[in-house]
């Protein structure tokens, strides 16, 4: 009798551990990151397409590459490196700093031997959460399902020399001993050339464009202060990353400032403030935006698509696309941005997509795309 309670506790604990290690979560047709076993070697058998894809994604999330690769049907051992690179990124791109947080999958079409699945992948990245949607094709091999992996094409640029005329601005500050009246360099002249405030998702959005009218580069930040009918400040915010902060001479950037908790009807006026600072900068790299067009994606959303082409000889680690959309009067009606998860290799196009809100898509008559970039070890 004295041993009954401890023995019972041990048995129950062991039973719960076994259940916890082997059971998988199933929620109708969708499977989240909770799916899969909690212990290596106890992966559930891929007897269904959902389970096969879940196993793959769980192993990817754990960076358990050998196991993940074993669930793929069509690749040989020599492809494992490119398979891994497809998930982990390369060249210091945004994917290199990202982690797969969770996923939700949905079957699109399933037969006895073939299946098409759509997966919403949620990534955590240094620039915030990014949602990626990918379609996977699965095939039944014997009594298990395997994912047919699209071969990841690693850009293979031929060896070449790309001449670059070095152009850069450096900054020499005045010494501390300089007296009053001695010369210093004026801050760059920048100007807000348009501003528009709209209601969006119950909040307010202030957007527009800024131009650097000077002959030197400028680090620009736009701030907006919302005022009520009495002239009191309701809220103030800066453009944060919805702007290209470093503007070269005569360059234009869109900006967007979100106020998700302030209704537009409560705002009487907006006080805009643009701050410009002289910064060292480089005129390279030059990034072209090719084949821009507004299209409808496979989810039925209006999107601006195109290809980024790095025309210089340096790799751009994290490209950032900011687009301003205009109505037929040339007024900025929306500003949207998006990060490209792959690095921009020299002379190699990379696709981008920027979503346009459904409510504004019909108004958009024209657009302008600005490419911001972050490169490791360069300013």
């Amino acid at each position: 009798m004295k041993l009954l309670l401890p023995v019972t506790l041990v048995v129950v604990t062991a039973a719960l551990m076994v259940i916890g290690l082997t059971a998988t979560g199933q929620a109708g047709g969708t499977v989240g990151i909770a799916a899969g076993s909690a212990m290596y070697g106890l992966t559930p058998k891929a007897s269904t397409p959902e389970q096969a894809l879940t196993n793959l994604l769980v192993d990817v999330r754990r960076h358990n590459w050998d196991l993940a690769f074993s669930t793929v049907s069509n690749l040989t051992a020599s492809d494992e490196q490119s398979f891994i690179q497809d998930w982990t990124g390369s060249n210091g791109d945004l994917r290199s700093f990202s982690n797969l947080e969770s996923f939700v999958l949905r079957p699109l079409h399933i037969t006895n031997d073939e299946a098409q699945m759509r997966v919403h992948l949620d990534w955590t990245t240094p620039v915030g959460p990014i949602e990626d949607v990918r379609d996977f094709h699965l095939r039944r091999e014997g009594d298990t399902w395997k994912t047919v992996w699209p071969k990841f094409q690693i850009a293979n640029l031929p060896a070449q020399v790309i001449p670059v005329t070095y152009l850069r601005w450096d900054l020499v500050s005045g010494g501390a001993e300089d007296g009053w009246g001695s010369k210093n360099v004026d801050a760059p002249h920048v100007r807000i050339i348009s501003m528009n405030a709209v209601e969006f998702s119950g909040g307010a959005v202030v957007m527009g464009e800024v131009v650097n009218e000077d002959t030197i580069p400028a680090f620009v930040n736009v701030n907006a202060t919302l005022l009520d009918g009495s002239g009191n400040a309701i809220d103030d915010e800066s453009s944060f990353d919805k702007i290209a902060h470093v503007l070269l001479p005569k360059q234009v950037t869109p900006y967007r400032i979100d106020f998700p908790t302030v209704a537009l009807k409560d705002i009487k006026s907006v006080h805009m403030d643009v701050k410009a600072t002289l910064v060292p900068a480089s005129a390279d790299p030059v990034i072209g935006v090719m084949n821009q067009k507004i299209d409808t994606d496979f989810q039925g959303r209006s999107v601006l698509t195109g290809d980024l082409l790095n025309e210089s000889g340096q790799t751009v680690n994290v490209p950032h696309v900011i687009a301003s959309f205009y109505d037929n009067n040339g007024k900025v009606v929306w500003v949207a941005d998006g990060y490209v998860e792959r690095a921009l290799l020299p002379q190699t196009p990379a696709p981008f997509t920027v979503e346009i809100p459904r409510s504004l898509a019909a108004k958009v008559q024209n657009f302008h795309v600005t490419v911001n970039q972050y490169s490791l070890g360069r300013s």
Binding site: V185, D214, P217, V286, G288, L309, E311, V369
Partner: protein, 285 residues
């Protein structure tokens, strides 16, 4: 009777002494110079000197001059001298700035586009060796030279210690030398004159294996100055596959970009608010 005589005598002595004690100061003093205050009366008194940056007390002998040292009078402004024996007497005097020995010269802006009206301004403040603003009218000569050519020359009489000018920027990009001078004292500043907006922006292009290579002719402003390197030029190509844009900086006077259009395309160019010509390029053969 005897008591009455004593009272009258005391009153006379007091009256005489009150009338004889006084202090007088020169009308004006130059900063850094010594000055003398004269006193009347007899006996000892306390002397107080109050002024900008100074406050001191000393014992003096009435009837003798009070010497104010140069270091007491370095700061320009109003001074108050007080002499107290039985009663207090006061005198005020003003210390003026000495001869200007330095010139503070503020010129704005540090960069200016060429041929811009009232774009360059300068303000000169003469100071003496003790950093007092020289309020006496002095003539400041302003000289603006562009290369070897004189752009502007004017002698301005300073008012209340300030002389200023405003003028139009020159025609040529480069350094604008701005000099303010008082006699043999001069201060130089440099304003960088930069090219204005591009003028007659024109592009040319040709098909290459990779697409279309398009470049501007050398970009100048309307005065013929080369537009600053780094200025953004936007190339826009419109073809069947959509719109392609490249923001390319001017390098060595020319901006160039590679467009990927393979079909017939119309290419336009703009820089800031200035539009250039359109170029029509046929499809790849």
């Amino acid at each position: 009777m005897r008591r009455l005589l004593i009272c009258v005598a005391v009153c006379l002595v007091q009256a005489c002494s009150a009338q004889s004690t006084d202090i007088s100061a020169p009308a004006s003093v130059v900063a850094g110079d010594e000055a003398t205050l004269s006193t009347t009366g007899s006996g000892r008194a306390s002397f107080y000197l109050l002024g900008p940056g100074i406050s001191r007390k000393s014992d003096v002998a009435l009837g003798q001059a009070i010497q104010l040292h140069a270091q007491d009078l370095r700061n320009a402004g109003a001074y108050l001298a007080i002499l107290c024996s039985d009663t207090c007497h006061r005198a005020t005097f003003y210390v003026n700035a000495a001869k200007p020995t330095s010139l503070t010269f503020v010129v704005h802006p540090s960069r200016v586009p060429v041929k811009l009206n009232d774009a360059v301004s300068g303000v000169a403040f003469p100071f003496d060796q003790f950093h007092n603003l020289a309020l006496r009218p002095v003539t400041v000569d302003f000289q603006l030279t562009e290369g070897n050519a004189s752009l502007f020359s004017r002698a301005v009489r300073a008012q209340d210690g300030i002389a200023w000018f405003r003028t139009t920027s020159g025609k040529s990009a480069g350094a604008l030398q701005v000099v303010a001078a008082i006699d043999d004292l001069s201060v130089r500043r440099v304003v960088q004159q930069v090219a204005s907006d591009p003028c007659n922006l024109r592009i040319k292009g040709q098909r290459t294996a990779a697409g279309i290579l398009v470049e501007t002719e050398p970009v100048h402003d309307c005065s013929g100055n080369p537009v600053s390197d780094g200025t953004m030029v936007t190339f826009t190509a419109t073809d069947a596959s959509g719109k392609s844009t490249v923001d390319a900086p001017i390098k060595q006077g020319v901006a160039r970009a590679q467009m990927t259009a393979s079909t017939a395309a119309v290419i336009s160019v703009a820089s800031g608010v200035v539009m250039g010509n359109e170029l029509r390029v046929g499809a790849r053969p």
